[in-house]
């Protein structure tokens, strides 16, 4: 006798939320590819894709269809199972992170208060880290399973890069956590909506986090794993069709999530700037407020996405030793320093040192 004593509506609500968020992140990712090309064009004094649909609006679908229609080649000497598993892991892990990000405050539908967050667990940030650290496997397995030394080298490079920068990222976050005192992203956002954004307390931490986010997403200037000029096409050299698409897509999903994370951690998340959210909610109703908040969040995310692209078309790629040097000798000490300083200040503040 199975006793499923669970609120069915709760499950339903969460399922819907999950579906919505997945669809949104996929859509965003989809249009990020388009945006990337557009931004690249604009920065290079071009227009970018503008033929498919008005202003090129259907370009991502065209790309998608192209990827789907291409011949799906699995090299005969590759490890078939892992070859397929690799992009799957990459994609899954990219999607999983969105579970703990609060996309907006509560909305009320039919008397039920629904939080616009899939799971408000009290180890939110750690969860993010756990999932991010899993992301390495997608790259490694894919690169290794291709049975191609270039892929393998690129995969190992990518993996070591991600591991190295994860450290600095974690350390920079720790400084933030000292201030907030909570790992829950929701709490962090709530704190920011009443006070200053964390960016103003932690500018150095944010900078480190930003750089690490670039590295984690394998974005230029840290796109060593897919350095065309050195390693052919990087770890997904043997991939084609939608499996390649998954890898490319995962990158954009990662970008999206890390942008959302940065907004959440340092820029107030769904907090609408210069406005007292609570009083605004009373005037226009919480549902509308939630929508506005989501928009605000997406605006911030959009800015970061743009920033990602902007940097990509500005800064050239690192050499590998420079990359490692920056990570280990530059960022980690810096993050430690930041952490110590923050700890000191927190200590002084808690002990009521008058200044």
């Amino acid at each position: 006798m199975i006793n499923l004593a669970i609120d069915l509506a709760f499950i339903l609500e969460k399922l819907v939320l999950i579906a919505v968020i997945i669809v949104i992140s996929l859509l965003v990712a989809l249009y990020t590819t388009f945006g990337e090309r557009k931004v690249a064009g604009y920065i290079q004094d071009r227009y970018g894709p503008n033929r498919a649909g008005p202003g090129g609006i259907f370009q991502p679908f065209a790309d998608g269809i192209k990827l789907f229609m291409k011949e799906d080649v699995i090299p005969s000497s590759s490890n078939r199972f892992l070859f397929i598993l690799g992009p799957g892991i990459a994609m899954t892990m990219a999607m999983l992170t969105s579970a703990v990000i609060p996309w907006g405050n509560e909305i009320t539908i039919a008397g039920r208060t629904i939080s616009l967050q899939i799971a408000d667990i009290n180890i939110g940030i750690l969860y993010v880290f756990g999932v991010v650290s899993m992301g390495v496997y997608g790259i490694m397995i894919g690169g290794w399973a291709s049975n191609n030394k270039f892929s393998l080298l690129a995969a190992l490079r990518g993996a070591s890069q991600m591991i190295s920068y994860e450290l600095a990222m974690g350390l920079s976050i720790i400084a933030l956590l000292m201030l907030t005192g909570s790992l829950s992203l929701k709490t962090i956002v709530d704190q920011q909506s009443t006070g200053w954004w964390n960016f103003f307390y932690q500018p150095l931490g944010f900078l480190i986090f930003l750089i690490c986010a670039f590295a984690e997403c394998n974005r230029t200037p840290f796109d060593l794993p897919e350095a065309e000029s050195e390693l052919n096409q990087g770890y997904h050299q043997e991939y084609s069709s939608m499996k390649l698409g998954f890898y490319l897509f995962a990158e954009y999903v990662n970008m999206f999530i890390s942008s959302a994370l940065m907004s959440t951690l340092y820029f107030g998340g769904y907090d609408i700037p210069f406005v007292n959210d609570a009083s605004m909610g009373q005037s226009i109703g919480t549902n509308w407020l939630a929508v506005l908040q989501a928009v605000s969040l997406f605006a911030k995310v959009g800015f970061f996405l743009f920033f990602f692209m902007w940097v990509r078309w500005t800064i050239p790629r690192f050499r590998y030793d420079q990359l490692m040097k920056l990570g280990w000798k530059g960022l980690i000490p810096l993050a430690l320093f930041n952490m110590v300083i923050t700890g000191l200040i927190v200590l002084i503040k808690e002990n009521g040192w008058p200044f």
Binding site: I43, D45, R46, W310, V311
Partner: protein, 181 residues
């Protein structure tokens, strides 16, 4: 050493200052540059809709010209083939038969006239060599084909439309470069 252009900039080999080692100002500068370009006027020409004016000396694909009555000018004298440095031109001459006066201007004409566009270097020497103003380099460009044979243009590829029957297309094919005779 005196530089020739005075634009050469000697490499600065001073050790970097702390600020420079941070790279952040340099990055910000670079970002500024790219952002500036973001808002610049785009130089792209939306090609099929919009075309760039050709230069007066542009040399495109060849055409075999006709006179104003629509007769072929070429007499198959072979001077163009001789002049061609790439040896891209071959021709076969033939005698004009009775009743073909409206087709060929003179008694002799080119029964076969082929230019291998893969060899042609578009130097225009054929044009200068032609005593009859029969061959011109037009403004047409970007030939495309799936096979190499397709690039060996025969007479029907080269001859321009009849000015009397299709005057508009004739003008279009003629382009702006042809000396108006």
């Amino acid at each position: 050493m005196q530089t020739l252009t005075n634009r050469a900039k000697p490499v600065d080999r001073r050790p970097m200052t702390v600020l420079e080692k941070l790279y952040l100002p340099a990055i910000a500068k670079g970002m500024g540059i790219t952002l500036k370009h973001f808002f610049k006027k785009k130089v792209t020409i939306q090609y099929p809709e919009e075309k760039r004016p050709f230069s007066p000396v542009f040399r495109g694909l060849h055409i075999l010209n006709r006179d104003e009555e629509g007769r072929e000018r070429c007499t198959a004298c072979g001077l163009c083939a001789v002049a061609c440095p790439a040896e891209a031109i071959t021709m076969e001459a033939a005698e004009r038969m009775e009743g073909e006066e409206n087709l060929y201007r003179e008694e002799k004409y080119a029964a076969k006239y082929e230019i291998n566009m893969l060899r042609c270097i578009f130097c225009g020497l054929c044009e200068e060599a032609c005593p009859k103003d029969a061959i011109y380099l037009s403004e047409t460009f970007a030939p495309a084909n799936f096979k190499r044979e397709g690039f060996i243009y025969g007479k029907n590829d080269l001859l321009i439309p009849d000015p009397k029957k299709e005057p508009e297309q004739y003008q279009k094919a003629l382009g702006s470069r042809v000396k108006k005779s």
